[in-house]
Amino acid sequence: MTALTRSGHPDGDDTQLRPVPWRRMAGVTWRQHRYPLAGVAVLLGGLAVWLWIIGRPLHRAWTAAAACHPAAASACQALIGSFNAAATSNVMSDKGPGGVLLQVLPALIGAFAGAPVLAREMEAGTFRYAWTQGFGRWRWALAKLVLLAVALAALTAAFGVLVSWYFQPYGGPQDLYRNSSFGDLFSLREVTFPAWTLAAFTIGVLAGMLIRRVVPAIAATLTASAGLAVATAGLLREHYLTPLVTSNPAPPSTLWIISQWWTRDGRFVFGSPPFSLINQFCSAPPPGRSKNPPFGTFAQCLAPHGYTQWTSYQPPSRFWPFQWIEGGWLLALSVLLIAAAIWLVRRRAA
């Protein structure tokens, strides 16, 4: 039997212990979590290739249309037309199949990479091993969670850059395709995608520590992350900065329109004009207009009768401020959730 070669326990340095170096957790974290991390990398890598393949024709059409002079020439109009055709049949919009697929990514990554981190330790009892090693339990939790969070943020930020590249033609020259830059996949850009992934990851970590079982923790994380994303997109995002207001009867389509209402003699009359009023004043289309007028022309035909259309909107220039605001509060939330998880690790009784 192999003898324990004890050169005597070094008693002298016991009182002033140097903690085990933080960097040692890098190898430990990698060995324990390489499969989920590799899974996320393979998933995002595959999607990146796909985005690149469908994005290149769009970019070629855009470059050709934008380089064409003069824009009014019929050859240029044809190029612009073909670009618009490619752009409007976009599978990556919020409602397109690609967009729907991508929008569940943060919740999925958070649930499958985040929820098991602590839940599996609790479920399998291995926390009794991990928390009695010399490294110390809260340091162990902090190092592991920060390393995983940084790795996931780096992977998703790289993917977010690609998403922004894909959408580059949409925010292009004014005479090309017009669309609100807020419209599509706002939460999957290089700032918001890592932020949403971090938030979902930390929700998963905390859910795992509270529920202490892997599968229920994954389910709870999916629910909570999806709920937060839906609430943010539907209720919260438009309020990041106070919307601007215009009475322009035909606001450009590059604006993110929050709401519209009508006034007469300086008083609110309705949110949208009733059919009776439209029939009365707008039944005869103005000369040179199609029979089904876009919304702006209601404003034009109702204006002579004292009605004013007001539009509250977020201008395209606020795209990046909104990205950073969303990224900022999600990062703050993530830090808070990680702190809560570590606090639970510290006080959790076996």
């Binding site: 324990l4 957790m25 190898g27 430990v28 009784a349």
Partner: protein
């Protein structure tokens, strides 16, 4: 020096005291057996000693006054929990790497030599090892940390007789090498030849604590098992019915 000292130590889960009014001084340099029926409070006491849980009452220190669970305590105590939890999807070699990384001291040569001796393939995942091999791997990792105190919670409960014998042989060898050992068990037979200090707990209280030789002489019993049984019968009347 005492390896574990408690005074008035108690732990309550909800409204139930799992352990109370526990005052002990476990001497260094020995194998100490913590004996009692299932649910007596053995695991509770060990979890308090390694700092996994926090006392509801009283206090516990280890290795001459270090607070349980403090960095200095964690550094010098190796703990093998009940059912020897290991990361099932990591290989034996990975478990060595992880344990070495998480501690200031780790005798890697010892760990590797022990695995070879035990016939545990380093590339085999921990979850694919037999119960006896998993227990031996956990014990090897603990001993390679070169602890001053080794704490084992029901280490042999799940093992077959041969694995049990081999495991205890390793513990005895470690003890001979100067490691203090504290182990709990509800099976008395394998402690007979090993333990020189005994703590008997039942229903959350310490019933008996002392050197085995002294206890045997004082109570006129021939063996540890008889001594323990006699005291358990006294303190748990339902057993005699």
């Amino acid at each position: 020096m005492n390896v574990v000292e408690t005074s008035g130590l108690g732990k309550r889960y909800g409204g139930t005291w799992a352990l109370r009014e526990c005052t002990l001084a476990i001497p260094a340099g020995r194998v100490t057996a913590l004996v009692g029926p299932n649910g007596a409070g053995k695991s509770t006491l060990l979890n308090l000693a390694v700092g996994l849980s926090v006392p509801s009452a009283g206090e516990v220190t280890v290795l001459g006054g270090r607070p349980a669970g403090s960095p200095a305590a964690l550094d010098a105590i190796a703990f093998v929990a009940q059912d020897t939890p290991l990361y099932k999807n990591l290989t034996a070699a990975d478990m060595i790497y992880v344990t070495r990384s998480l501690n200031r001291r780790f005798d890697q040569d010892y760990a590797r030599a022990r695995l070879a001796e035990l016939g545990i393939p380093p590339k085999r995942k921990a979850g694919q090892l037999s119960g006896g091999q998993q227990a031996q791997l956990a014990l090897t990792l603990a001993l390679a940390r070169r602890p001053r105190l080794l704490i084992l919670d029901e280490p042999v409960a799940m093992l077959d007789p041969i694995a049990r014998h081999d495991f205890m042989a390793t513990v005895v060898a470690a003890s001979a090498g100067g490691v203090s050992v504290l182990l709990s068990s509800h099976v008395l037979t394998e402690l007979e030849r090993v333990a020189s200090y005994l703590i008997l707990v039942a229903r959350g209280r310490v019933r008996l604590a002392g050197y085995v030789d002294d206890l045997l002489a004082a109570h006129g019993q021939a063996s540890l098992e008889e001594l323990a049984l006699a005291h358990l019968r006294e303190t748990t009347p339902e057993v005699t019915r």
